[in-house]
C-alpha cells in the first residue's frame, strides 16, 4: 500500500532536484543558511563541572563521521570537495587526550588494562576496576555501563574513576564496595592518584565464588519449586475442569431432552421427594422429617434422662 501510492512523489523528489540539492544543500524554499534564534540554554554556562564527553570536532556531521572511520562500509561517499576543505582532520595526528581510552600507556606506572585483565581471572567479566588505575581487580561486569567509558573519565579527573567500586560479580549478586569502601569511589575526589583499591585476597574471592554457587543453587531450587507448584495447580485445574464439564454436560443433556419432550422421570423422581415434603410442610400437614417423631414409646427424646425428656415431649 505504502510503496505504490508513494512512488510518484518519491520520483519527483529524488529525480533531478536531488542532484541540485546535493551540490547545494541550501537549495530549499526557505532562505538559505538561516539559523534559528539562539537557544535559551546557549547563553547559560553548563553548571556541573567536567563532563565525560569528548569535545566536538569541527566540520559537518557527514565529514566528522566519515573521518572518524565509523561510517558504514560501502556507504562512504567520496566527496572530494568536502574532505579537501578539511584536510587537517585527516592528516594531523591528534595528541593523546587524557580522556582517551589508552590512558594505561600514557600513565606508565599503572600498567595497561588488558594485561591485567587477562592475568586476573577471566571468570569475572570485563574490567571496571582496572579502569581506576590498573591495580584493582577486574570484578565489575559489563552489566552496568561500559567500562571503557568510565575508565576514560576516571583518567580525566580521578574522582569518578572508582565508580566501579561497587562491582557486580560474575554471578550476578551485587557485592558491596571494597577497597575504597563505598559506591562513590575515592575518599578524596580531587586526588587523581589516590590509593587504588587493592586486589581482593584469596578468601574474599573464594567466598565470592561460594556465594555465587549458593546463589545458583538457590535459584535452581526455587525454579524447581515453582515448576512443581505450577504443575500441581495445572493438574488440579484440569481435573476440576473435567469434573465441571461433566456436570455441565449432564445439565445440558437434561435440558435438551426436556426441550425435545422426553421426560427423564427417573432423575426427577430422585429429586422430587424433598420438594414434596417441603410443600406439604407449608400446608401444615404432618411432616415427619421436620417435626420429628411424636409417637410415644422409646424415642430419642428420652435419651438424656427420665425427667426432662417427657416434659419436653408433652
Amino acid at each position: 500500500m505504502a510503496s505504490n501510492s508513494q512512488q510518484p512523489g518519491m520520483k519527483g523528489s529524488l529525480g533531478a532536484p536531488v542532484e541540485v540539492l546535493l551540490c547545494d544543500p541550501e537549495v530549499t524554499g526557505s532562505s538559505p543558511g538561516n539559523n534559528p534564534p539562539p537557544k535559551p540554554w546557549e547563553q547559560a554556562a553548563t553548571s556541573s563541572g567536567p563532563t565525560p564527553f569528548r569535545p566536538s570536532t569541527p566540520g559537518s556531521t557527514s565529514v566528522v563521521v566519515e573521518t572518524s572511520g565509523t561510517a558504514k562500509p560501502g556507504e562512504l561517499y567520496s566527496n572530494t570537495g568536502s574532505t579537501a576543505a578539511n584536510p587537517s582532520i585527516v592528516t594531523r595526528p591528534l595528541p593523546s587526550r587524557p580522556w582517551d581510552q589508552n590512558y594505561g600507556s600514557s600513565y606508565g606506572g599503572y600498567g595497561s588494562n588488558m594485561s591485567y585483565n587477562t592475568g586476573y581471572g577471566s571468570g569475572y567479566g570485563s574490567s571496571m576496576y582496572g579502569s581506576s588505575g590498573g591495580l584493582g581487580g577486574s570484578y565489575g561486569s559489563g552489566l552496568y555501563g561500559n567500562s571503557m567509558y568510565r575508565g576514560g573519565y576516571g583518567g580525566l579527573s580521578g574522582g569518578y574513576g572508582t565508580y566501579g567500586g561497587m562491582s557486580n560479580s560474575g554471578f550476578g549478586g551485587t557485592m558491596g564496595g571494597y577497597g575504597n569502601g563505598g559506591p562513590y569511589g575515592n575518599p578524596d575526589p580531587n586526588n587523581p592518584y589516590g590509593q587504588p583499591p587493592s586486589p581482593p585476597g584469596f578468601w574474599v574471592s573464594f567466598l565470592r565464588v561460594m556465594h555465587g554457587v549458593v546463589n545458583f543453587f538457590g535459584r535452581v531450587s526455587m525454579l524447581i519449586d515453582q515448576n512443581t507448584q505450577a504443575f500441581h495447580f495445572f493438574m488440579t485445574a484440569l481435573l476440576q475442569l473435567f469434573d465441571r464439564s461433566g456436570m455441565l454436560y449432564g445439565e445440558l443433556a437434561r435440558f435438551v431432552l426436556r426441550l425435545l419432550g422426553i421426560r427423564t422421570k427417573s432423575k426427577q423422581k430422585q429429586h422430587q421427594p424433598g420438594l414434596d415434603q417441603l410443600e406439604s410442610a407449608d400446608k401444615g400437614r404432618q411432616q415427619p422429617f421436620l417435626d420429628g417423631p411424636k409417637a410415644p414409646g422409646p424415642s430419642w427424646d428420652s435419651v438424656w434422662g427420665g425427667d426432662d425428656a417427657p416434659k419436653g415431649a408433652r
Binding site: 505504502a2 559537518s60 563521521v65
Partner: protein, 317 residues
C-alpha cells in the same frame, strides 16, 4: 487556550525553533495501527485560535516529527513504513517531499534534529537500530546497531554536536558519540521498556528516561549506577519526556494515563502540575523554546492543545 482538531490520532507535536507561533503535528489514522498519516504545520493566531498552514499526507502513519534546525520551513517525519520524509513548506506540493529515505526495515518511531550542528538528524526504529542522516548524502551515513529490541527514542545532546542518547525496549538507555564505533555508556535504566529520553538543556550530564514502569528517572551520565531522581505519579506508561529549554530542573511528560505532568526533579514534591485535558492517551508533548512556559500536547483524542503553563488547557480565552 487554542485547540486544533486533527483528522487522525495525534502522535507528536513540536514547536518550531524559528517561529514562536508555529507547530508541527504528526498524526496517524486508526491509532497508528493501520492507515494513512498526515503531518500538519499549524500556526497560533494572535487572535487566539489555531489555523493550519499546510499539511502533508503519507501512505502510512507518522509516529514522530522534527523541525529542521537549519531551514525554517523544513520538517522531517518518521513514517510507519520505515521511511523518513522531509517536506519543505515553502515549496509547492509538486516538489514535496524533498527527500524520502527508506532504509529502516520496520517502523521508524522517533526522529530528532541535531540542534548544535544543525545539519543532521537521527532516526530510531523498531528494527533495533538508529541511523544518522544528513541532507548532503543520499543515504544514511551511520547505523547504530547495539540495542536488542525496538529503539523508541533518540535525543541529541543540546550542548555536544556529536553526542546523543537513545532509549530502547531492551530496558536500556545508551549514550553514543557519532565518532565512536559503539555506544559510550549503557544505562540499564528501568525494569521495563523505556519509551523516551531527553537531555537536560543546562546540565549536559543529566539525562531523563521515561518508561513503561510508570516512572521518569533522571540520570547523571558520570554516575549512572543509580538515578538522580525517580519521578512517580503517572498511572500508566510514560510516553514522552522533555526537559524545559528555560528552566534547568523542569520536566514535561505525557502518559498513557491521559495526563500531561510537569515535574521539578530537584524538589521534594516533584510533581508541579497535572493536566488531564486529554480524553485519550496523551502521546505527544513539547515545550516552546522561544516562549517560556508555553506547552503543547496531542493525543489519540485527535486534539492538539497549546497552553501556557499554569492555565487550563481547555479554557477558551
Amino acid at each position: 487556550m487554542p485547540v486544533f482538531k486533527t483528522p487522525f490520532n495525534g502522535y507528536a507535536v513540536r514547536f518550531s525553533p524559528f517561529y514562536e507561533n508555529r507547530l508541527l503535528v504528526a498524526t496517524a489514522q486508526n491509532f497508528g495501527i493501520l492507515g494513512n498519516g498526515r503531518l500538519h504545520i499549524i500556526d497560533l493566531n494572535p487572535a487566539g485560535g489555531i489555523s493550519e498552514l499546510c499539511s502533508f499526507d503519507t501512505a502510512d502513519g507518522i509516529y514522530d516529527c522534527a523541525w529542521s534546525e537549519s531551514h525554517d520551513s523544513v520538517a522531517v517525519a518518521a513514517v510507519a513504513d520505515g521511511s523518513l520524509k522531509l517536506w519543505d513548506a515553502a515549496l509547492p506540493p509538486s516538489s514535496n517531499p524533498i527527500r524520502s529515505f527508506h532504509e529502516h526495515a520496520r517502523e521508524v518511531h522517533a526522529v530528532d534534529w541535531n540542534p548544535v550542528r544543525r545539519d543532521s538528524f537521527l532516526s530510531a526504529s523498531w528494527d533495533d537500530s538508529l541511523k544518522l542522516w544528513t541532507l548532503d548524502r543520499p543515504a544514511s551515513i551511520r547505523t547504530f546497531r547495539e540495542h536488542s529490541y525496538c529503539v523508541y527514542s533518540a535525543a541529541w545532546s543540546p550542548r555536544h554536536a556529536d553526542v546523543f542518547a537513545s532509549a530502547s525496549g531492551d530496558c536500556t538507555a545508551r549514550v553514543w558519540d557519532v565518532r565512536d564505533p559503539g555506544s559510550s555508556l549503557v544505562i540499564p535504566a528501568h525494569d521495563h521498556e523505556i519509551l523516551s529520553c531527553d537531555w537536560n538543556k543546562y546540565d549536559d550530564c543529566f539525562l531523563a528516561t521515561a518508561s513503561v514502569d510508570k516512572t521518569v528517572r533522571v540520570w547523571d551520565v558520570r554516575a549512572s549506577r543509580a538515578p538522580v531522581a525517580t519521578l512517580a505519579g503517572h498511572g500508566y506508561a510514560v510516553r514522552r519526556i522533555r526537559f524545559s529549554p528555560h528552566r534547568e530542573s523542569l520536566l514535561l511528560s505525557c502518559s498513557y494515563d491521559m495526563t500531561v505532568c510537569v515535574w521539578d526533579y530537584r524538589t521534594e514534591d516533584a510533581l508541579l502540575a497535572r493536566y488531564d485535558h486529554h480524553t485519550e492517551f496523551a502521546v505527544g508533548v513539547d515545550m516552546s523554546v522561544l516562549v517560556e512556559g508555553l506547552l503543547a500536547s496531542t493525543g489519540w483524542d485527535e486534539l492538539v492543545y497549546v497552553w501556557q503553563h499554569g492555565t487550563d488547557p481547555r479554557a477558551i480565552s
